[in-house]
């Protein structure tokens, strides 16, 4: 294809997105669009399955049967969401195995928040309330992103996630209305998860490399800073309801802007965690690799059995 032809295809393509038309797997698309989508969708999928681990850490220790089934169902949903997203990614011409390979070799990233440890039961509350809260803010706009399979996966994900944040908030609420020890546990969890949750919404706009292109392709509808402000504005009143204190001395309502002002985020920590130096980066990755490696003989056996079965069927016909 000549350069001119590609230019004209690209112009048509951009125009379709501006018209709010969806792009489907077999449509022509610029190579950069394909690559960017593989990167973002797979990163999202990896975050779902790595995200199973910190919460999975408490399934066997959940304090009541009701909490146990709710947590189990929630973590299972995350597996489902990972699966929907990997499937969406596969429509772009890359296999799930290749995507795993990228995760295991640290070529692909996942949300840095899952590199923090879950040390008390209250962390299950804080993750549901804050981390899922931040995730929802990020995800809802993606339901109308330009790539059809991604948008459809996100519609399903958002629908299913609606119980996740409530599940977390309910845990926090119960703790905050329990004994002083329980309330302290809740406050401690908020103290540890607050800043990582703010970081989870991504680097500041000034530092964010992909924003402009992503806006054009509707991979992003709002900037990281806008999302962060939205998250803070909606979460602070919820903390008030719980009677918990946000661990930020500079946090205060700004009458003029109609938003909360907040203190400085320690971006150093964020970049260190992204680079692999968070408290649990190694554990998380090792757990994923181990599950995959230990499952190899199972997957092979299932394939071998399937092949024998289909050979038998063919044999019968002939």
């Amino acid at each position: 294809m000549s350069e001119e032809q590609i230019k004209s295809l690209e112009a048509d393509f951009d125009a379709r997105i501006v018209r709010d038309e969806k792009i489907e797997p077999k449509d022509w698309m610029p190579e950069k669009y394909r690559k960017t989508h593989i990167r973002q969708i797979s990163q999202h999928a990896h975050s779902e399955i790595v995200g199973m681990l910190p919460e999975g850490n408490w399934i066997t220790r959940a304090p009541s049967l009701r909490r146990k089934v709710a947590l189990l169902a929630k973590v299972q949903d995350e597996a489902g969401h990972g699966l929907y997203l990997y499937s969406a990614c596969e429509t772009l011409g890359i296999s799930r195995d290749e995507l795993y390979e990228q995760l295991h070799s640290r070529k692909a990233k996942y949300s840095s928040i899952f590199n923090y440890p879950t040390v008390t039961w209250a962390d299950m509350g804080a993750i549901g309330w804050l981390v899922d809260g931040a995730a929802i803010i990020n995800q809802v706009p993606l339901c109308s992103t330009s790539y059809g399979p991604y948008a459809r996966a996100m519609v399903r994900v958002c629908k299913e996630e609606s119980f996740h944040q409530r599940q977390g908030f309910e845990i926090m609420h119960k703790l905050c209305n329990g004994t002083p020890e329980q309330k302290e546990m809740a406050q401690d969890a908020l103290n540890r998860w607050w800043w990582p949750s703010l970081m989870m919404l991504g680097p500041t706009d000034a530092e964010s490399v992909h924003t402009e292109q992503s806006m054009k392709w509707k991979l992003k509808r709002k900037t990281n800073d806008e999302l962060r402000q939205q998250f803070i504005d909606q979460t602070v009143p919820q903390a008030d309801i719980l009677g918990l204190k946000i661990p930020d001395a500079d946090l205060k309502w700004n009458e003029e802007t109609g938003h909360y002002d907040f203190g400085e985020i320690q971006w150093d920590e964020f970049w260190q965690v992204v680079k692999g130096h968070g408290p649990c980066n190694k554990e998380r990755l090792n757990a994923r690799k181990k599950a995959w490696e230990r499952g190899a003989w199972v997957r092979d056996a299932a394939m071998a059995h399937a092949e024998k079965q289909s050979n038998k069927k063919i044999g019968k016909v002939v």
């Binding site: 077999k26 489902g80 699966l83 929907y84 799930r96 996966a153 997957r299 092979d300 394939m303 071998a304």
Partner: protein, 94 residues
Amino acid sequence: MKKNWPLWEVFVRSKNGLEHRHFGSLHAADEEMALENARDVYTRRNEGVSIWVVESKHITASNPENNGELFEPAQDKVYRHPTFYDLPDDVKHM
């Protein structure tokens, strides 16, 4: 040996009276597993009463490059639609 589980497309009938609709895809080694996985992955919230699975490679898809010749010729066949036809005002419903 390294052979990956193939990809399957999942179609679910939400309730009787409705058609099967494409729900998504998954990996499975054989058709029983594909059905079971589809049940576990796509109907956890009571979303279905019937499931079809088909290995993705068996689907033949039209090529969007041919969309012009395939679909545009239908655009000007306005006489296939009821609004093409004039009725006297006193005929209220037809």
